[in-house]
């Protein structure tokens, strides 16, 4: 499924790009501009495009965040300790019963493990409001954003819960509900 996703989404993007290029060609060719018409115009539009391109480039390089699994994250920081300073996004599994909080400091603590290898895990500190759906009493996938500190604790700035089937159930799941 993943590779299909990529092929199809990139075709959407290529479609979009081709519109932009078609517009540029249109302006240069039979459009409102002829070669003798105002060059300042093309300069100005070219300038806008360059500025936008620059903004996108710097925007991406400054704000891009790696989306990793816990195993990838731990391997990554072993190879390259400076990775401790980089903001990352991690998706893993919340460990049952691992949540606790310090209500004076308003800190939440919990443990997150890799989806495939449960022995790979780290503890997480989070200082904000947890989503309503966060629940350490059942198996739950979470997505964290933040920084993996040198002391092996993940300092999270964003915590999202992910439960794909909670909005819709397949007929089989409904049968199971029914039997229960």
């Amino acid at each position: 499924m993943e590779e299909y996703n990529f092929a199809l989404w990139s075709s959407v993007l290529i479609l979009h790009c081709s519109y932009m290029i078609a517009f540029a060609v249109h302006l240069l060719g039979s459009g409102p501009f002829t070669m003798k018409s105002n060059f300042r115009f093309l300069g100005a539009i070219g300038g806008v495009s360059l500025v936008v391109g620059y903004l996108i480039w710097t925007g991406v390089t400054e704000t891009m965040t790696y989306y990793l699994t816990p195993i990838e994250l731990i391997n990554r920081v072993e190879e390259d300790p400076t990775f401790h300073q980089v903001g990352v996004k991690v998706s893993g599994r919340l460990e049952k019963g691992s949540w606790s909080r310090d209500s004076d400091e308003l800190l939440h603590y919990f443990t997150v493990a890799d989806l495939e290898d449960e022995s790979v895990r780290f503890s997480v500190e989070y200082r904000d409001i947890l989503p309503d759906t966060f629940n350490d009493q059942e198996l739950q996938d979470v997505v964290l954003e933040g920084r993996f500190r040198e002391d092996g604790v993940f300092d999270a700035t964003v915590v999202l819960t992910k439960c794909g089937s909670r909005y819709e159930a397949t007929p089989e799941e409904l049968v199971e509900d029914y039997i229960e």
Partner: protein, 680 residues
């Protein structure tokens, strides 16, 4: 009734496909009887789809949980209006709802043009029925039939997601869908114009109201969505650059660009290919937004379903439509030649052109950021995401550029603006803008971008006000009317122009509100009953919130609801109470937080019951479980988004209001005569 609805859905498909064939054939062979057959199928399909939708609604109202769709989105205790809104709560129903609205607009377009614009109608009907047919095909053959039955009848349904149990649920999705579907009509006219070769401005004049209507619903739908997200905890405030929010923004951006660029075509006969490209792009983006909302391809707070198969069908459809339209445009290229050339960069057409470049650049940047995780995953195998900072960084300068153009565009002349015109029109607004920015700086506001936004907003507002004052005075002098009468007549005579300015005022208010959020304040604290917390607003008010304790009760569809009560005083004077809740729904395991909002003109006090030391105890009214943690926020100028939305609605209504007598088309106007303040 329910079976009847299902039957109607099955009958509608062949009728739509046959009707499309009839209409296209009748158009090509110039056979009126065939075209009429096509038009009659439009009416028939609307009737059939009404039956289908009624069938679904009846299934919800009568708690028919043997239907998969009802079992998943309803339960016995659900409020009636949420049962009705079940029609668009999930993917399956919303597809039916989408095609119902499309069919409604098809009926209006067909009926209102039954005696006029006949040269366009065969292909218009053909295109509308083809799109309808595609959606019906998907509904019946892509595993999304809303009438799918379960092998047994569960005692109760699984209930509606509590986040959707909000009154905005009954209004936000339909508004957005009205905007999406209304755009199919201009698209159909554009394709029709390409097919029959009438590529002057006729198709634009016919569909102008439709474009405005679609834009109007999209804008309102987006603002309703912002309001909903603002009230709902966990959706990141009024705008979070979530993929689905972005998807609804994309067609709005291109539609806004289109709304402006058609004015260049109407007045100067330029940008014909460009406009065709924009109408096709916007239509494709409405389809894109429709399926992205319900597909789950990109991780989002909105993804309510994970049926990816349907996404590929939709992408395939988009690809076919795009390819067909590009071929048509290339085929008709000779007829799409520009009649004029841009003469000076100091002209209204150039301002509009830059407006288009900026809107398209914004659309491109938003699209790129939304799809970035998938692109990087495909190229490097490593998923890399960009978050809200990326979108803010790019869209802030683009938005400010557009804000500036919003002031410049209306008062700069077509073709070539004279220096005198520029100095006369811009000297005062620039001074006012600078003074306002300076005033805010001296008052202690130290946020650069916010200051620029305030200054530019003042600049634009001054220009619009001056235009209104000048217009009213001129009319009052020439016609000898009082100022109020003159003002009303002024707006009434050229609704498109003055209504447009009013829409601009609304947009300025929304921009100001965005800038205001730079000054938001927040704090988190844990309180025992009787304890209080103070927060100082950026305007210097001191709010003191005194916690009164928790009380718990049972509610409709709720197992328990615990309410925290806060006494609020401003600068020492009591101004009332605020509540924030935790709710436990019958059909939902996790508790749900409801925030408390106290809105004032300039700032909102926003209260979240973050957690209760012993929630189960609190639900049982245990006197010992009263210690609770709160987050208190002061949100600056948020209200201006909603006021701006109201102003946009007012301006939009004025622009679209049907006029008596012959509508003066600006195409008939000689552009050489329109100088400093022409008709738009």
């Amino acid at each position: 009734m329910i079976q009847l609805g299902e039957l109607a859905l099955h009958i509608a498909l062949p009728i739509s496909l046959m009707g499309a064939v009839f209409a296209f054939y009748g158009g090509a062979k110039r056979r009126g009887d065939w075209v009429l057959a096509g038009e009659l199928s439009v009416y028939a399909i609307f009737f059939l789809l009404l039956l289908t939708s009624a069938g679904i609604v009846v299934a919800f109202l009568t708690d028919r949980f043997d239907y998969w769709y009802v079992a998943n989105y309803s339960n016995r205790e659900l409020d009636t209006y949420f049962k009705v809104s079940g029609l668009w709560a999930g993917q399956r129903g919303s597809l039916v709802f989408w095609v119902l609205l499309l069919s409604l607009f098809s009926v209006i377009a067909t009926f209102s043009n039954r005696l006029k614009n006949r040269e366009f109608m065969p292909y218009v009907v053909g295109v509308l029925l083809t799109v309808t047919g595609f959606f019906l095909l998907v509904l019946l053959f892509a595993d999304v039939n809303p009438f799918e039955k379960l092998p047994f009848a569960p005692a109760d349904g699984r209930g509606l997601n509590p986040q959707l149990q909000n009154y905005w649920m009954t209004i936000h999705p339909p508004t957005l869908y009205l905007g999406f579907t209304a755009f199919t009509v201009p698209f159909a006219f554009a394709v029709s114009a390409l097919l029959n070769g009438r590529l002057d401005t006729r198709w634009i004049v016919i569909t102008r109201r439709w474009i405005l209507l679609s834009w109007f619903f999209l804008a309102n739908g987006i603002i309703f969505g912002m309001r909903w997200a603002y009230e709902e905890l966990g959706w990141g405030g009024f705008w979070f650059w979530d993929p689905v929010e972005n998807a609804s923004l994309l067609p709005w951006l291109t539609a806004t660009a289109f709304l402006h660029s058609i004015q260049i075509q109407e007045n100067r006969g330029m940008l014909k290919v460009w406009n065709m490209g924009l109408v096709v792009t916007t239509f494709l983006l409405t389809i894109f937004a429709t399926f992205l909302t319900r597909s789950g391809l990109i991780e989002s707070v909105h993804t309510f379903a994970e049926n990816t198969k349907i996404a590929f069908i939709f992408l395939g459809f988009m690809g076919v439509v795009a390819a067909a339209c590009i071929m048509l445009i290339v085929w008709r290229k000779p007829l799409l030649k520009s009649e004029n050339q841009i003469e000076s960069y100091l002209s209204r057409e150039s301002a509009f052109l830059f407006n288009n470049v900026l809107f398209l650049a914004a659309a491109f940047a938003v699209m790129f950021g939304t799809l970035f995780p998938l692109i990087t995953e495909g190229i490097t195998g490593q998923t890399i995401t960009v978050g809200p900072p990326y979108f803010n960084k790019i869209n802030l300068p683009l938005g400010l550029g557009l804000l500036a153009l919003m002031g410049i565009g209306p008062v700069i002349g077509w073709r070539r603006a004279s220096r005198r015109n520029l100095v006369k029109n811009f000297r005062m607004p620039i001074v006012v803008g600078l003074l306002v920015a300076l005033g805010f700086y001296l008052a202690g506001a130290r946020h650069g971008m916010a200051l620029v936004t305030f200054g530019l907003s003042a600049f634009v507002m001054t220009i619009i006000i001056v235009e209104f004052v000048k217009g009213t005075k001129a009319r009052s002098r020439i016609e000898g009317e009082g100022h109020v009468v003159a003002f009303l007549h002024l707006v009434g005579r050229n609704r498109r122009r003055w209504g447009g300015y009013i829409v601009h005022v609304g947009v300025v208010l929304v921009f100001t509100a965005f800038a205001g959020s730079a000054f938001d304040r927040e704090l988190i604290t844990t309180l025992e009953p009787g304890e209080s917390v103070t927060i100082e607003s950026p305007l210097g008010h001191e709010y003191e919130l005194t916690y009164q304790g928790l009380s718990s009760e049972r509610g409709n569809n709720l197992a328990a609801k615990t309410t925290a009560l806060m006494d609020v005083s401003q600068d020492g004077k009591p101004i009332g109470t605020m509540t924030a809740e935790k709710r436990l729904y019958l059909t939902w395991e996790a508790p749900v937080t409801e925030v408390g909002i106290r809105s004032k003109f300039l700032e909102d006090l926003y209260l979240i019951l973050e957690s209760v030391s012993d929630l189960n105890g609190a639900f049982l009214n245990d006197a010992k479980a009263q210690r609770a943690t709160f987050e208190v926020q002061v949100n600056m100028l948020v209200g201006w988004i909603w006021y701006g939305g109201l102003v946009i609605t007012l301006g939009g209504l004025i622009t679209m209001w049907p006029s008596r007598g012959p509508q003066t088309s600006s195409t008939q106007e000689d552009p050489r005569r329109s100088s400093a303040s022409p008709t738009i």
